[in-house]
């Protein structure tokens, strides 16, 4: 049974579901929601007596066991030791291409974002890359990105074992279908309709009349999130943790 939860809690819970079965989750810097989702998966697995989940939070000393500098994440991904990673994006298009560089032309982009970071690499090597961007608008979810930091699909003859797995926003959750190279709407968050999602999305996608509502956590999981996960988060993201509901 779903209990009432905040939108953030819904997203964190959804992230944990998208990570199901992953043994090692890497989370980029300043990514409290993905970190929370990974921590929730770890706690749930432990409760259910399932395998350990390792969560590596880049930029954290405590939740990061890398000892060979920031290149180790990339080596580790190439070795197949990382099961899931998160990417955002100034633009994400319907073919799963991600743009972290800029909009409106290159190189002298009128709108310039920080840059591609490790995306052009990790998107190929981490099996399950979750695209996570809270803003759900035609400005972000475009038909065609202005610059491809990391491509959603790849021609034959190029090694690729990873890529987009799902796209999660504050309004909906899509899966990515590698065979067709398109997104499929899997569920719509409470308070939105498929029609809303079609309007808010700049690309066409499959199952665009989806009537599934994104499930929220049950009472037990919500209690876990508001207790243990909130405290674990507070070590790395004190401000973010403080903004989450506390256990009664």
């Amino acid at each position: 049974m779903t209990t009432e939860c905040t939108n953030r809690e819904l997203l964190i819970y959804t992230i944990s579901r998208l990570l199901d079965g992953v043994e090692h989750v890497a989370v980029g810097m300043s990514s409290p929601m993905p970190a929370a989702g990974a921590m929730l998966l770890r706690a749930l697995n432990k409760k259910q007596g399932l395998g350990d989940v390792q969560v590596s939070i880049l930029g954290s000393v405590r939740h990061n066991s890398f000892t060979s500098g920031s290149e180790e994440l990339f080596d580790c991904a190439a070795q197949g030791r990382i099961g899931a990673f998160f990417l955002g994006g100034g633009q994400i298009d319907g073919k799963g291409n991600v743009n972290l560089v800029g909009a409106g032309g290159y190189p002298n982009s009128p709108v310039r974002w920080p840059g591609s970071y490790g995306s052009a690499y990790l998107y190929f090597l981490v099996p399950r890359v979750i695209l996570f961007r809270e803003e759900h608008s035609p400005r972000v979810l475009v038909d065609q990105v202005d610059f491809i930091s990391a491509p959603g699909a790849t021609e034959d003859g190029v090694y690729r074992r990873g890529g987009p797995h799902a796209l999660l926003t504050n309004a909906a959750m899509f899966s990515f279908q590698r065979d067709t190279g398109r997104f499929r709407l899997e569920s719509v968050h409470p308070g939105r309709s498929a029609a809303d999602i079609r309007e808010m999305t700049g690309f066409s996608f499959d199952n665009d009349r989806c009537e599934v509502e994104t499930p929220g956590p049950d009472a037990e999981i919500l209690a876990l999130m508001r207790g243990q996960i909130r405290s674990e988060l507070a070590e790395t993201y004190p401000q973010f943790a403080a903004s989450l509901p506390e256990a009664a």
């Binding site: 810097m29 290159y106 190189p107 021609e155």
Partner: protein, 268 residues
Amino acid sequence: MTEFVSPEAMADMIPSGVKLGLAPDGSGSCPAMIRFLIERGIRDLHVVCAPIGGMQVDMLIGAGAVSVLETSAVSLGEAGGAPCFGRAIRNGEIRMLDATCPAVFAGLSAAEKGVPFMPIRGIIGSDVLKNHPNWKVTTNPFDESEKIVVVSAIQPDITLIHAPEADRFGNVRLGRRREVMLLAHASKKTFVTVERISETSLLDDEKLAAGVLPAMYVSAVAEYKGAAWPTGLYAEYEVDAGEVENYARAARTPEGFLAYITGTRSAA
């Protein structure tokens, strides 16, 4: 072999026009030295970020000191986008070599290992590859059906970093920030400012040794306490988030940047 100098003298040893290697904010960045370079009117730098840049790179750009920027990203972290960087991009004032983190490391590894190139997986199909002059697609010599990217070696003329500690022999403790070790190995010269200088050799302690950059890579050391302020130093002191926000706000305009860079207290 390692010279011990003042921070000012070290700044004098870094001329315009060099390929300058810099560490990420908080992992070996040295904004206080960047101020000295700006005061001296340094120009025409090719800056290599290993693998990303922050406030110190934005300051150099704002001061008009950068002609080429090779990086995977520039950001002020929690304080948002890097304002001088964004402005310089819009105005076409710097030549941008957009990279991706592991490709920067591959280029530095090539220099470290003295080979002209390194192969790297991924990247194919991205516009990062299309726009990068020093990367190519080739075939795997052991499997002609596989296309793979090769990146050419990146060898900075000078790397400038801040570290917790050096000893009197020129050895420098970096700890687990191995990307800074890689950067120093790859560079022709490395200049290091440190929080403190140890009178006993850092190599004598087996527990420390794995995180120590040996003196043979270190051209000069300057003691300069707090020189990583406000960006912070891994395992020593945190970023001064308020100050970085002050910078971010000020640097929104060229005038604001100028006022900040000439007005604000330095680490000294």
